[in-house]
Symmetry: C2
Subunit: 340 residues, 2 copies
């Protein structure tokens, strides 16, 4: 930069300035136009980080697992960004996951950047903000970005699609309840971690996961069509015929199985590169990001227009509750007025 | 109806015709304009059903609990509608929950209507469809509508807001992991069910939940401000100062504690009526429904426009992935073109 000329926020982020990145992430949280401007400038510099998603039910030990992976990557001299997404924490501001990781000793490590994100109200901005924060960490030059999400709802599925490789964490002792989670898991899992594997039933859980994966192969007509019906919907993962989803046993609390997990992640990454699947994954990420941007932007426009013409959302909702209007007609009228 | 004049779909639903309701629900799933027309006609006839939300992690036993509640309400001569929402099941078409309940013996009971809903792709239509299906069951004259959701993500929180009373189901043995789920739970819980309460640690889980609730009271400045900071965001539950959230132990598999749970539900309903909170809840429901309608409608418009002008979403995503465009500029341009 020429002396005397102030650097833009994006330039400061690219130069690795932590305070600039933190500031940009606050702007992203608040959906400020300045954030969008910086993101546009950063975007051409992104695409270098390897993005790992870690998901699973509450209580599966995802934070400890994340913590151990950070330690391992740091030993390999890799820099790490962590996005801890907690869609269930409107009260805490989503601080729980991030705090947990921070407390475990990476707070003073300059090679680790941790950011928590929580739900931000009715606009559905969580996916949008998560995608943007990943991009910022990517632009900062982080080698690895870990995205940790609580739960297995639609938000988490959307967010998992922003990763190159997604680890689904399960714990022993789910019993026949594994049935209840299998479908969502199948969609996003590239690697399974059976955590707390020192507990009773770990081998049974591994067997159940394995037969679940085999069943899927059979029902979709052989292993080479493993994810065949996934192509029926535009939101599903593209078929990756030859990838055999590994199941790794870990005891994160005792640092066991972490190297095996990292090896499974590395081998999925190699697979993506070798099979030319990286562009597919990038395209999927791009689609998620674009739709998330569009959705939040349009709803925000619509609610502003609503407020200008009909009063605040709460008043409109009360009119519906009193049966003075119906939500279908109102939404139809507003979107017809709004969209040309 | 005048003889010879064909009844509309809405009229047939109001007359209690099961096949008409099933047909309308399929149209809702497919987001057909005919569905919206029927819903507009049905809306003035809704608002009579008592809507119960049942949520919690996978494996908490929600389906069995739902099954037992159905049996109890049927004994009381109440008709029941069940919406089994499974946002994690794109592969199964969300059939798992519904099938589970159906298999448990209500399949031939005409007083019970069960419908499964799963995620329907990128448009975020799950909340929209859930709200609509609840309305149809309400219009059919069901006394009670039970909405069962898997997980604790944002979708489930949105859906929980469509209920008058929400039961959060937890199981013993979450240990300190209860921390991870507490925030989301606090937002939506009107009643806690500690299910599988014959397991070790049930009393400890009850104690942990109780101290969590007390902590909330303390941090928000006394029990009369229990949900005070909830008012900070438009999407939070309105404050209900005087409602003490009950914690009920159940063993659904052995039909234990179900009457106590039903009593807790009834007392929350009485509370809503007596304290004049029903309109607040209805307003909250209306807001969720209206925003869900708006969101899906706008994104659909936008993606149609995109396809007409720039090509299919996949092609646009691939251009982003190749760094020929960025998602922020594209979303901005499209929404500026679209919105007047």
């Amino acid at each position: 930069m020429a002396a005397g000329k102030a650097q833009t926020l994006a330039e400061r982020v690219l130069a690795g300035e932590v305070r600039a990145a933190a500031r940009l992430m606050r702007d992203i949280d608040d959906a400020l136009p300045e954030a969008t401007l910086a993101l546009k400038q950063l975007f051409p510099h992104t695409g270098k980080a390897y993005v790992i998603g870690i998901t699973g039910s509450p209580g599966a030990g995802k934070s400890t697992l994340t913590d151990r992976l950070i330690a391992l990557y740091r030993k390999q001299q890799k820099t790490v960004g962590v996005v801890a997404v907690d869609p269930t924490s409107p009260f805490s501001g989503g601080a729980i996951l991030g705090d947990r990781i921070r407390m475990q000793g990476h707070a003073t490590d300059e090679g680790v950047f941790i950011r928590s994100l929580a739900t931000r109200g009715a606009l559905g901005g969580l996916s949008r903000a998560t995608g943007e924060v990943i991009r910022v960490m990517d632009a900062m030059g982080k080698d690895v970005v870990i995205v940790e999400t609580v739960g297995v709802g639609q938000d988490e599925v959307d967010i998992a699609k922003m990763a190159h490789t997604t680890v689904v964490t399960v714990v022993p002792g789910m019993g026949d309840d594994i049935q209840a989670i299998k479908a969502g898991i199948l969609e996003v899992a590239d690697v399974f971690a059976v955590n707390k594997a020192d507990r009773e039933g770990a081998d049974r859980t591994v067997r159940e996961l394995r037969s679940m994966l085999e069943l899927r192969n059979v029902t979709s007509g052989g292993s080479h069509d493993a994810q065949h019906h996934a192509t029926a919907s535009a939101t599903f993962r593209p078929p990756e015929h030859d990838w055999q989803i590994p199941i790794v046993k870990t005891v994160a609390a005792r640092d066991e199985g972490i190297e095996e997990l990292a090896a499974a992640l590395a081998s999925h990454r190699d697979y993506l590169v070798k099979e030319g699947q990286l562009l597919r994954r990038e395209t999927q990420r791009a689609r998620e990001e674009f739709v998330a941007q569009l959705r939040e932007r349009l709803v925000r426009h619509a609610l502003q227009r609503l407020e200008a013409e009909q009063g605040a959302l709460d008043e409109v909702a009360e009119r519906i509750a009193r049966r003075e209007a119906d939500p279908y007609t109102l939404a139809e009228q507003l979107s017809e007025k709004l969209v040309r």
